[in-house]
């Protein structure tokens, strides 16, 4: 009974373009990670390197949220409801790293 129901389901054939796009995003994520690796061992440690790493992380986060989680293709109201609080906490991450440096300077 239930099996006949499932057999009546119309399976839509795969759209190669869509699948290709998914793998393209995966390749971008992999390449950015490899770039981060190379930078970790070649560039001198310091504020510039930290900024580059944070920038590349935002790039990766953008591709995951926009394409994998499909947020780019949602309504504007939903996009901004999610993005505004997220931007604020990203700012807080950076702000309290700077604050940590200030605490270190006061202690010493």
């Amino acid at each position: 009974m239930s099996h006949e129901e499932t057999n009546n389901i119309q399976v839509i054939p795969e759209d190669k373009e869509k699948t290709k796009k998914i793998w393209k995003v995966a390749a971008i994520l992999a390449i950015v990670t490899i770039i981060e690796f190379i930078f970790a061992f070649t560039l001198p440690r310091g504020i510039i390197l930290v900024s580059i790493f944070l920038g590349l992380t935002v790039v990766k986060a953008f591709y995951i949220v926009a394409e994998f989680m499909h947020l780019k293709h949602e309504q504007k109201a939903l996009i901004w409801s999610i993005m505004i609080p997220t931007i604020l906490i990203l700012w807080l991450v950076v702000a309290l790293m700077v604050e940590g440096t200030a605490i270190f300077n006061i202690r010493n």
Partner: protein, 248 residues
């Protein structure tokens, strides 16, 4: 007298009621806002890490001459440099890199499962969900190894300020650096690992439902989309943990 409620559909009809204004179902919208609140929890941990890390002294000398000490914050690539089955080989961040790739790949297979769900392709959903579960379990196994290695420490250990030799790390002492470094490692990767674990459990439930044909009977595969959102979020958090904990 009966009260008649009139909905003004001519002005601002999107928010006037009767339609989903954000054009997503209730379940998906609630998953988005749950993930936003979960992002707050994770960012609280990562913000704490950033604050504590930069209020500790950093290692000043050349990277090649780095030695562990409880006096300064360690360079992460010197802490996480071991590989399973290759004892004594110095392979900085390679294992974490492999873990990152595993998680990104399992995110990709999850998108493919969601895509197959849109097409009502039960067989493809089952296949890709299974790959996603395998990816999640592999990641958890890697993390278990990493924790075990971190807890047991190196054979030489580190001499602390009062002349004791410490081996490995726990919540009170830490051979790699200040005790807070180990505590934050356990809290942040542990909280993330628990998310991966619950994600694997939820993915398995969805996989099981797809196998027995629940979603075909229901007429849509939206449940795959919702768990997909959760799984991508877990991957997203790892991207941030990877940068803030292992690279900086």
């Amino acid at each position: 007298m009966a009260t008649i409620v009139e909905i003004d559909t001519t002005t601002n009809s999107r928010w006037g009621g009767g339609v989903a204004p954000m054009n997503v179902s209730y379940g998906k919208l609630m998953m988005w806002f749950f993930l936003l609140s979960d992002a707050f929890s994770f960012s609280a941990l990562l913000i704490t890490y950033g604050l504590i890390r930069y209020s500790h002294p950093a290692y000043q000398g050349a990277v090649s001459e780095f030695e562990f000490s409880t006096e300064y914050w360690p360079i992460p690539e010197m802490v996480f440099e071991a590989l399973p089955f290759l004892h004594g080989v110095h392979a900085p961040l390679i294992f974490v890199g492999i873990m990152t790739f595993i998680l990104i790949l399992s995110s990709v297979t999850m998108v493919l499962a969601v895509e197959a769900g849109h097409r009502m392709d039960r067989k493809a959903v089952i296949k890709w969900m299974l790959w996603t579960i395998i990816g999640g379990l592999t990641f958890l196994a890697c993390q278990a190894w990493e924790w075990s290695h971190f807890i047991h420490g190196t054979a030489e250990g580190t001499v602390n300020a009062i002349g004791e030799t410490i081996y490995g790390a726990n919540l009170t002492e830490n051979q790699y650096g200040p005790p807070l470094f180990a505590s934050l490692f356990f809290f942040i990767t542990g909280f993330h690992g628990f998310h991966v674990f619950s994600g694997v459990v939820i993915n398995f439930i969805v996989f099981f439902n797809a196998v027995v044909g629940t979603y075909d009977k229901r007429g849509h595969y939206e449940m795959v989309e919702k768990t997909g959102l959760y799984w991508h979020f877990v991957d997203l958090v790892w991207v941030f943990v990877f940068t803030l904990f292992y690279l900086i």
